[in-house]
């Protein structure tokens, strides 16, 4: 009987070590919520201040404008997107540091390195590809590309953190693909993919693992 409880404890310890050494568990649901709010705020800033309360549409007229005429507009939109990205990354890093500290864990481990590499390869590929689209004034496909490459990055990174990240990635990919077929609704898809999906995911994760 004594060896029995020892075996049970051994197996429990083995499971825990396998889980903790192969998955990055310091990711906080709060990061998701914050990223979602930032993305929606970014979209609203773009809508009200850059697109002049939505009076600038990607329509026939816009398509016939030359690259120079839309240059400042593209630059401003990309600046907002970049600000959203930087803020989201900084805050998710901060929340992760906090969570790791609270759990007494190290943030920089072999798993977190692998997670980062697997996340960054599709993400950087997407980033460079989007720059190419921008330079060619191919604005219509930018939001779909953001969503698709981000989704691929999450699917790729899902093996190294909470399994839910994988499904979030799949949803982002689907949102991106749908948006590629529905031109002119980029803003709405952006708000849904980066805003609403992130907030729902963040809330669910927070309640499941942290609350």
């Amino acid at each position: 009987m004594k060896s029995d409880t020892k075996s049970i404890e051994d197996i429990k310890a083995i499971r825990k070590i396998m889980e903790e050494s192969s998955r990055f568990l310091s990711l906080s649901g709060l990061s998701g919520i914050f990223a979602g709010v930032t993305a929606i705020a970014g979209a609203l800033v773009a809508y009200f201040f850059i697109l002049d309360n939505g009076s600038i549409h990607y329509d026939e007229y816009f398509r016939n404008l030359s690259a120079e005429e839309t240059f400042s507009l593209r630059l401003q939109l990309i600046a907002v997107a970049a600000a959203v990205l930087v803020l989201s990354v900084l805050f998710s890093l901060w929340f992760s540091i906090k969570k790791a500290q609270r759990d007494g864990k190290n943030l920089w481990t072999p798993v977190s390195k692998r997670l980062l590499i697997n996340l960054l390869i599709p993400l950087c590929t997407g980033g460079v590809f989007i720059i190419a689209l921008l330079l060619q004034n191919n604005i219509q496909l930018i939001v779909p590309c953001f969503l698709i490459f981000y989704g691929l990055a999450l699917v790729n990174a899902g093996k190294f953190t909470f399994g839910e990240i994988f499904y979030l990635g799949i949803l982002e990919i689907i949102t991106g693909l749908v948006s590629a077929f529905v031109p002119g609704w980029g803003m709405i898809f952006w708000i849904f993919g980066f805003g609403i999906l992130h907030i729902i995911y963040g809330l669910a994760m927070y309640r499941k693992y942290e609350a």
């Binding site: 009987m1 029995d4 049970i8 310890a13 070590i17 396998m18 050494s21 192969s22 072999p110």
Partner: protein
């Protein structure tokens, strides 16, 4: 009963060795310092168990330099994988039997 425990491997009897093998089952390689942190052990304790596992052919050691710093990492051998799986199975059987 003899059958049940015949697969319990003496090499894995200690908690530390169970820990090391668990990490190496799910990670291709793991370096010394990360193992130390993950398992919360002292240098000497970890090193002696690693040495024992290496001598039994359960793990292999890769030494290399990252810049000027020596970096030692470990991975499970084919034997290590099979034997540890058998050991786990035996542990589970032992529990289920009672």
């Amino acid at each position: 009963m003899k059958d049940l425990i015949s697969n319990i491997n003496k090499v894995f009897e200690s908690r530390v060795r169970l820990g090391i093998m668990s990490v190496l089952m799910v990670n291709e390689t793991y370096d010394f310092n990360s193992l130390k942190e993950t398992l919360d052990l002292t240098d000497g304790n970890l090193a002696s168990h690693l040495k024992a596992l290496e001598e039994k052919g359960m793990i292999k050691v890769n030494k290399q330099f990252i810049g000027r710093k020596p970096n030692t990492s470990y991975s499970a051998t084919e034997t290590g994988f099979t034997e540890f799986r058998q050991h786990l199975k035996a542990l589970e059987n032992l529990i289920n039997e009672q």
